[in-house]
């Protein structure tokens, strides 16, 4: 079991997985885009502007899931002091930041035709902006603090404090009166979205998850090489 977790073995599997994802990614992307832009029906109220949902919602999900993973792994890093965990969180953070920003930008674009405004200081939107700031704080500590142990400690604290924001984002539409609509897709309970729209949404989510996996693996591979390079210099 622990042999699999060895960096050399991980490196070998990363190469294989990158090759596999590259081989299927563009076909799946074309299928997902066809469903999102052609085959899925327009909404009875929002018309074709509803198609923005196919990039906005997966981006928001990925932004939230990435930060939750970073925070949970940071707690694990505090307890178990496994260096590998920090390599993982460092590799996830830029992906999470990009998708959080995309969720904010595409949400703003969607807001103009549906709400009549690009931006409101609404609880959901503001809490997403705060999430982006936590990501920037996390990435900045690794970029600007040269002492690696100190950077790891500060970034872990930022991630753990930022975890408080996740349930605020999730429940902001229930706790406050907001312009943003409540969740249409629920893990427990019945979803209020029709299957003709749910299927393209899940397909786009899957394709973007594959993209995230690809970027994560490439970043993780870079981190492993960086460490090996450092060890080589110490020789």
């Amino acid at each position: 079991m622990f042999k699999i977790l060895n960096l050399s073995n991980i490196f070998y599997w990363i190469e294989k997985l990158i090759g596999f994802i590259n081989s299927i990614f563009f076909i799946l992307l074309l299928v997902a885009l066809s469903f999102a832009l052609i085959f899925s029906p327009p909404d009875y109220l929002q018309g074709d502007s509803v198609r923005i949902m196919y990039v906005h919602v997966p981006s928001a999900w990925i932004g939230l899931a990435s930060f939750s993973s970073i925070a949970i792994l940071s707690i694990a890093h505090f307890i178990f002091k496994i260096k590998n965990i920090k390599l993982i969180t460092k590799s996830i953070a830029p992906i999470g930041l990009m998708f959080t920003c995309l969720a904010i930008v595409t949400g703003s674009i969607w807001g103009q035709p549906t709400w009549g405004t690009w931006w409101v200081w609404d609880a959901r939107i503001t809490s997403m902006l705060i999430l982006a700031l936590f990501y920037i704080g996390f990435i900045s500590t690794h970029k600007f603090i040269t002492d690696e142990n100190k950077a790891n400690k500060i970034s872990s604290i930022i991630a753990i404090i930022g975890l408080i924001n996740i349930p605020i984002i999730k429940y902001s539409v229930d706790w406050w009166n907001t312009l943003h609509q409540p969740a249409s897709i629920k893990l427990t309970g019945e979803s209020s979205i029709h299957s003709s729209m749910l299927m393209p949404l899940l397909l786009m989510f899957f394709v973007l998850i594959l993209y995230c996996a690809l970027i994560f693996l490439m970043k993780y591979k870079t981190e492993i090489i960086r460490i090996k390079k450092k060890n080589l210099n110490r020789l």
Binding site: D48, S49, R51, V55, I109, Y211, I225, K228, N233, L235
Partner: protein, 77 residues
């Protein structure tokens, strides 16, 4: 029909704009990540090649990663 598809019933600018921003951002992140990875691979391979032949042999024998990076960098060269 194509005009309808492009105009998205007058929501075209918003819909295409959102998709374009998403894919441009994804493309840029992919490009930047790949560029950094290749840079580190090249630097690592160069540093191994600069070692004395004896040390180079030891490093390659003891590190699967070093040998993999060396072989992939020689392929790209």
């Amino acid at each position: 029909m194509i005009q309808n598809f492009l105009s998205m019933n007058s929501y075209g600018l918003f819909v295409w704009g959102s998709f374009a921003i998403t894919f441009i951002a994804c493309g840029l992140l992919y490009y930047k990540t790949l560029k950094t990875l290749k840079k580190y691979e090249r630097e690592f391979a160069r540093e191994i090649n600069e070692l004395s032949s004896e040390r180079k042999k030891v490093v390659i024998e003891n590190s699967k990663i070093a040998s993999q990076v060396l072989s992939s960098s020689s392929k790209t060269i």
